[in-house]
């Protein structure tokens, strides 16, 4: 109270600048702790947010709450069994983590999965991408208070999980990726039936897209918020929708792993770099995933789905890259010639996107921080492994 009374009249009517605050012996930027427990954060992540009035002038991220040491386990598990651990890095991109590990090990072994296995891998990758993006729409809608949109998105997602269950037996952990191919082989009729079962979801998603991209309430929360320039996104190593929403045409699927080299698709790119652009990239990618699944079902070749893997892997190393829903992921394995690999490493997309997220927060208001965090679609379990 004393401090208030000694301020000049004009200063009481407007916010103080940082220098004025210092002159009056008032602390500079306020530090607001955000997380690790917060209503919009499904997983623990912490930020020290530095604010001048309501504007973010800096943010220091902190991870480390759920580190499980999964990479180290590779030294204690048979290299063919470890795929089950790799799948459990994340409950959303589980299949892709298992598959990425397999691709890297297959690189060391010098083998390639059979054609049908490569096409099935593509099918499940796109299934995972579609349900992950729908889950994101739901979480984002929930964060800005649009409950009915949250319900509609997750209702459609359930249909996708039903297809995952029918084709793999699992809704979260598919258990279908194995070194040398895949362990499940749904027949062509099953795949065609699954695509028919997804028709209602595809119809609903078209409507969801309109709401997400055109509803004035949603636009008010997302447009012009958390803008990240293309240059900043690239320099800070952003990947996935975070990078593509800022105008960069980079999608690791272009490498042609699995069956992506044989299926035509366009990279989804937006240019505004704001939260809405990131949402638009994900929504357009859902539609694209269904189109790719259509092509897989129409063109999947017949044949075996796995190679017999026997003996020890040779001494060697391999990097493999995939495009997960959140962006490019990098897998590395090194073999010492025994059944236990010497090193397995995953660089997940959220890990790469954290510096860009901090940059996107700069200059934004405190109330927009949850939306900005959500639009990188953070997966902290992946990040900490």
């Amino acid at each position: 109270m004393m401090r208030e009374e000694t301020r000049p009249e004009d200063a009481r009517r407007r916010p103080l600048s940082l220098d004025e605050a210092r002159e009056r012996n008032i602390d500079g930027p306020s530090v607001i702790p955000f997380g690790p427990q917060h209503p919009v954060l499904p997983e623990p992540l912490h930020f020290d947010l530095f604010l001048e009035d309501e504007k973010i002038v800096g943010a220091v991220p902190q991870i480390g709450y759920i580190h499980r040491g999964l990479e180290l386990l590779v030294e204690k598990r048979d290299f063919t069994d470890y795929v089950h651990v790799a799948e459990r890095i994340c409950g959303i991109c589980s299949f892709m983590h298992g598959m990425g590990y397999c691709e890297a090990v297959e690189g060391v072994l010098g083998v390639a999965a059979p054609d049908r296995a490569r096409w099935l891998r593509t099918f499940w990758c796109e299934l995972e991408r579609a349900h992950s993006h729908l889950m994101w729409i739901g979480l984002a809608a929930d964060a800005f208070g649009f409950e009915s949109l949250f319900h509609a998105a997750w209702k459609s997602r359930e249909l996708i999980l039903d297809v995952a269950e029918e084709t793999t037996g699992g809704r979260v952990i598919y258990g279908s990726a194995i070194v040398g191919g895949v362990s499940r082989d749904p027949d062509d009729e099953t795949l065609a039936r699954c695509m028919k079962a997804l028709a209602p979801a595809r119809r609903d998603i078209a409507q969801l897209s309109r709401v997400m991209l055109q509803n004035p309430t949603v636009k008010h929360r997302l447009e012009g918020v958390g803008v990240l320039s293309g240059e900043a996104a690239y320099k800070l190593g952003a990947v996935g929708p975070m990078l593509r929403a800022s105008g960069y045409d980079y999608d690791a699927r272009r490498r042609g792993y699995a069956a992506y080299g044989e299926i035509e698709f366009e990279t989804v790119v937006e240019t505004a770099g704001d939260c809405m652009a990131r949402a638009a990239v994900r929504i357009r990618e859902i539609e694209q995933s269904f189109a790719i699944m259509d092509k897989v079902v129409a063109g999947i070749p017949a044949g075996p789905v796995a190679l017999p893997i026997k003996g020890m892997p040779p001494v060697g190393e391999c990097f493999a890259r995939l495009e997960q829903p959140r962006g490019e992921v990098v897998y590395y394995v090194r073999s010492n010639g025994t059944r236990n690999l010497e090193r397995f490493r995953v660089r997940t997309p959220t890990f790469a996107n954290i510096p860009a997220m901090v940059e996107a927060m700069r200059g934004q208001s405190l109330a927009d921080v949850p939306t900005i965090i959500l639009t990188i679609d953070p997966c902290i379990s992946c990040t900490e492994r």
């Binding site: 190593g237 090194r334 660089r347």
Partner: protein, 136 residues
């Protein structure tokens, strides 16, 4: 197609790290990751860079007590990798822009975290864990 067909690993000396990284940065390469592998006499670090679909790696061997310069002056986003490597492998990395002082996973040497200050990826820890298992 696997990355093994296209990867390119270039061995460099610790002293030339910043020069080599700066050359890639100037040529438009983005930082993809930093990988560390613990070894009995130190650590091996691979800095991966991407340009379009190409991937290139700079690899160096750091002696146990050697200090590496941080590349955050060139790639500010590298701070997460460098903090993690210091925590998990005990590699000394100097002048990291956002320095968490060994508190990423609370397992750095000297930290009083759940792991009791052990570095989980070091050979010492692997050996200690194996002996504990054998003791049971």
């Amino acid at each position: 197609m696997t990355e093994k067909e296209t990867q390119r690993i270039i061995m460099i000396e610790t002293g030339s790290l910043l020069v080599e990284v700066d050359a890639l940065r100037s040529a438009g390469w983005r930082l993809v990751q930093i990988l560390c592998i613990g070894q009995a006499d130190g650590a091996e670090l691979s800095y991966s860079f991407g340009l379009d679909l190409e991937l290139r790696h700079l690899r160096l061997k750091a002696a146990a007590e050697a200090a590496l310069p941080s590349i955050t002056s060139l790639y500010p986003g590298a701070f997460l990798y460098e903090n993690e490597i210091r925590d998990l492998f005990g590699v000394r990395i100097e002048r990291i822009r956002a320095d968490w002082n060994g508190k990423v996973y609370d397992v750095a040497e000297g930290a009083e975290g759940r792991a009791g200050g052990r570095k989980p990826f070091s050979k010492v820890t692997i050996k200690a864990t194996s002996s504990e298992e054998a003791g049971r």
